[in-house]
């Protein structure tokens, strides 16, 4: 180093550049946005008070990205939630959930027959770590991740145990928060449904062909 204490002066030059830089090019240097300086004075939504409508972003640093996930929600295809719920209470997600935070009870109608619906579907939001394993293992696309993160409640047990009815959200709400993913998922389900129908149709034809062949043999049998 040439002059005495050269390294220290170089270091101080860097801090000076940062000091001046945080005033000049805010985008590069300043990651926290300073709202009280706003010339028009009005603070944007979210700092101190809550967003009025659903989905409005709090501040431009907490942009809600398309894959962002917070806590799961159950999907139903519109109308009265409990008739069109997709979940059939097969309890795969309850078994696979790493922190074991899902609790399901099957629904039975009056004479004890298992109807494909969950009577109780609780998620303990204080234990859930939003890892999205339940979404992956669910064969019926019944559970997806919500991105709503204003869930603070004063009560530690009841408040953080989200019951089935609060979990149920409509499919078009899902389209609203995660448009891409929702569209891809619906398209995949449509393809599967089509494949299933095709298979069912093929099975019916085979059954009908077999029935005709049997009828033909029967006809041939009693013809001899």
């Amino acid at each position: 180093m040439s002059i005495l204490g050269g390294g220290i002066f170089k270091g101080m030059a860097v801090t000076l550049r940062n000091f001046v830089g945080s005033y000049i090019n805010k985008k590069e240097r300043l990651t926290t946005n300073d709202y009280s300086w706003r010339p028009d004075g009005d603070l944007p939504q979210g700092i101190g008070d809550y967003p009025k409508e659903e989905g409005e972003q709090l501040s431009d640093t907490t942009t809600v990205t398309n894959y962002s996930r917070n806590f799961p929600m159950l999907l139903h295809d519109g109308g009265e939630p409990m008739d069109t719920v997709r979940c059939v209470a097969c309890q795969i997600c309850e078994r696979e959930c790493p922190p074991q935070c899902i609790y399901i009870e099957k629904d039975y109608d009056e004479n004890g027959k298992y109807i494909k619906r969950p009577a109780v579907f609780d998620i303990d939001v204080s234990v859930c770590m939003s890892c999205q394993i339940c979404v992956e293992v669910c064969p019926f696309d019944a559970i997806v991740m919500n991105s709503q993160f204003e869930l603070s409640t004063p009560d530690r047990f009841g408040g953080l145990l989200v019951r089935r009815d609060d979990l149920l959200k409509s499919n078009d709400y899902y389209h609203q928060i995660h448009p891409e993913e929702a569209a891809a998922r619906d398209q995949k389900m449509a393809v599967e449904k089509a494949a299933k129908e095709a298979k069912k149709k093929a099975a019916e034809e085979k059954a009908r062909a077999a029935a005709e062949k049997k009828a033909a043999e029967a006809a041939k049998g009693d013809a001899e």
């Binding site: 204490g5 270091g11 940062n18 945080s22 005033y23 926290t32």
Partner: protein, 382 residues
């Protein structure tokens, strides 16, 4: 009798008010400047209470002060309570005392007789005698709070402050030698008209040594070993909370003001500055502006430099600062005699020679102490 008392009160109470408010302003300045260095914004929410006007966060020091008042004041069971209480007070008194003797000519003090007594003849000696008390207060805090970390902090503080007192005093000796008097006002007047001591090479070297030693005296950035967060939690004031902690804080800042004030009187020409002719009260503004320049430098250093280790700290004081300041006195002596002949060429020659000598010894000593600490080159494997 009471008249004299009133005069003294008129002189001291505004001084206390001004410096207390300057303390509040400096805490805000430090937090904002450090934040901006680190690309943050710093306090900007606390303004006028229960309104949304935030005044760039200027209310923050007031908020901190009130918070400190209501914080619970925990005294560890094993601590001996008297010294635990006494230490912060003792840390504050010397700093406050010294403020009165800075050559600040407030306009209203011109006519009052007893106030002239403040500008006593042995001001510089008085200054060093009083600031020596600070070491005692720090070690008392370290020992009294009966905590291993504070004990370590206390011992470090004693070693550091004692060994940096000597370069501090030796670099002040040069100015006293040049001016010939210990009176702060006389030293300030000797530098009027922009021939501040800092512009001469020995004066500049003395100023640099004085500034570095003052950093160590007030436990500021590269020398904040007594309160090293990363090694010994908070050093001597680990066990302090509530108002006692605020007192330590206040003590440290007022000590910063006091020692920068002395640096300004000795090297930067006291209240001297342009535009004094038509507005004599400007000298106070210049004086405080120069103090804030030094404090800004301290904050800048705090934002950049890491901390020294204890043995390096000692080595730096005894093996670098001390020999340099003694040599500086020698060089200043010769230069003073050379200047008596007051011929232009001789002064220029003496300046150049002294500059060469000082810089040569400084970098020589630096190589000596640094050992093999060099940036290294590394090999790459494919």
């Amino acid at each position: 009798m009471s008249l004299v008392l009133i005069d003294i009160l008129i002189a001291t109470v505004p001084l206390m008010l001004i410096f207390a408010s300057l303390f509040a302003f400096t805490t805000w300045l430090e937090r904002k400047a450090l934040a901006r260095i680190q690309n943050r914004i710093g306090p900007n929410k606390v303004g006028i209470p229960c309104t949304r006007i935030s005044l760039f966060g200027l209310g923050q020091p007031a908020a901190d002060g009130i918070k400190m008042l209501f914080k619970e004041d925990i005294v560890p069971r094993g601590a001996d309570r008297l010294f635990h209480l006494l230490a912060p007070i003792l840390a504050l008194i010397p700093a406050m005392l010294v403020l009165c003797f800075l050559p600040l000519e407030f306009p209203w003090t011109k006519s009052l007789l007893p106030v002239q007594a403040f500008l006593l003849d042995g001001a510089v000696i008085f200054f060093f005698a009083i600031t020596g008390l600070n070491t005692l207060a720090v070690f008392m805090a370290g020992w009294a709070s009966r905590n291993k970390y504070s004990l370590l902090g206390g011992m470090r503080a004693v070693a550091q402050m004692v060994s940096y007192e000597i370069p501090l005093v030796l670099s002040a000796v040069i100015v006293v030698m040049m001016v010939g008097s210990l009176n702060a006002a006389v030293i300030a007047d000797a530098q009027t008209g922009f021939n501040w001591f800092v512009f001469s090479p020995w004066g500049f070297a003395a100023f640099v040594i004085f500034f570095i030693a003052s950093l160590a005296e007030t436990n500021r950035s590269p020398f904040d070993l007594p309160e090293a967060e990363s090694e010994i939690i908070a050093g001597y004031f680990t066990e302090y909370s509530g108002f006692k902690f605020a007192l330590f804080f206040l003590g440290e800042y007022i000590a910063m003001f006091a020692i920068s004030g002395l640096a300004v009187t000795l090297f930067l020409g006291g209240g001297d500055g342009p535009g004094l002719a038509n507005a004599p009260w400007l000298s106070v503004v210049w004086f405080i502006a120069k103090i804030f320049a030094l404090i800004a430098m301290m904050i800048w250093l705090r934002g950049t430099l890491p901390r020294l280790r204890v043995d390096q700290l000692m080595g730096f004081a005894w093996k670098f600062m001390l020999p340099l300041s003694i040599l500086n006195i020698l060089v200043a002596g010769f230069a003073w005699h050379a200047q008596q002949q007051d011929s232009k060429t001789i002064t220029v020659i003496t300046w150049v020679i002294s500059l060469a000598i000082l810089y040569g010894t400084a970098s020589g000593l630096n190589q000596l102490n640094r050992g093999s600490a060099r940036p290294r080159k590394y090999k790459y494997a494919e």
